[in-house]
């Protein structure tokens, strides 16, 4: 499995998670969740275009993904922030690629992911500062 495969799987899972969690949110968090879900769909489409451009067949999304039960808004926020943190880590791994096109798409996805993380942290009242986004803890 390549780093782009890992990232695509993560984007599929993120779209699924936003679909399940956003309904529990209100206010600015809900607005952000709806916007970010759309961004994940755009990123998925960009990745599918990347596979097409290389003559590769992309794998499809799973019918469903295992998620912890979402009881309330706090649970939804925790789930979505955790997904964004793991996705940033996955995309960060790809920027070490020796293959230029792979490095570029991973960098673009990683940068978008860092922006999403910063926006989430701001909405949650946390600092958006993070000198090394996506670094494993």
């Amino acid at each position: 499995m390549s780093v782009v495969d890992t990232g695509l799987a993560g984007e599929y899972a993120a779209i699924y998670a936003y679909g399940a969690a956003t309904v529990h949110l209100g206010g600015a968090a809900r607005d952000l969740a709806e916007a970010v879900e759309a961004e994940h769909r755009d990123r998925r489409d960009a990745l599918l275009d990347y596979y097409d451009a290389h003559g590769w067949e992309a794998f499809a999304a799973e019918p469903g993904y295992d998620l912890d039960p979402i009881e309330d808004a706090e649970g939804a926020r925790e789930l979505l922030l955790g997904i964004e943190e793991r996705l940033a880590t996955a995309w960060r791994a790809g920027i070490a690629s020796d293959e230029p096109a792979e490095r570029e798409i991973c960098l673009n996805m990683f940068t978008d992911g860092a922006k999403v993380l910063a926006r989430w942290r701001t909405v949650l009242g946390e600092t958006a500062a993070d000198p090394w986004p996506g670094r494993p803890a």
Binding site: A96, T111, K115, R119, A129, P133
Partner: protein, 123 residues
Amino acid sequence: MFGAAALTAAGCTPTKATLIASDPDLIAALRTARDLAQASEALGYDDFAADHHAHIETLERLLRPSGISEQAAPDIADAAALVEAEAAGSREAADACLATDGDYTVVFGEIAACRAAHAAVLA
């Protein structure tokens, strides 16, 4: 004499070791980080300034033993100008990430992403 012969036998040639004096992309990243740190502090964004100081510390360590001199204060007067400077700094680091074939790919990518995140929040 014996040492030289042993090195040659081992496939080594007696060329003088040289230190890599500098890397233009690392120097550019350092200068931009200093500008962004100074401007962020002046405009009251201390947490973002701390991010830039973390980059400065790492870049200075990577550039050692080359000393990179301090520079004039940046012309970043307000939040809008800082957004522009963060975005430009992100593009600069991203270009370096894509161009380098060295060991600094991930560092440049992380710095690009951090600066882009600052710009996204400040905008």
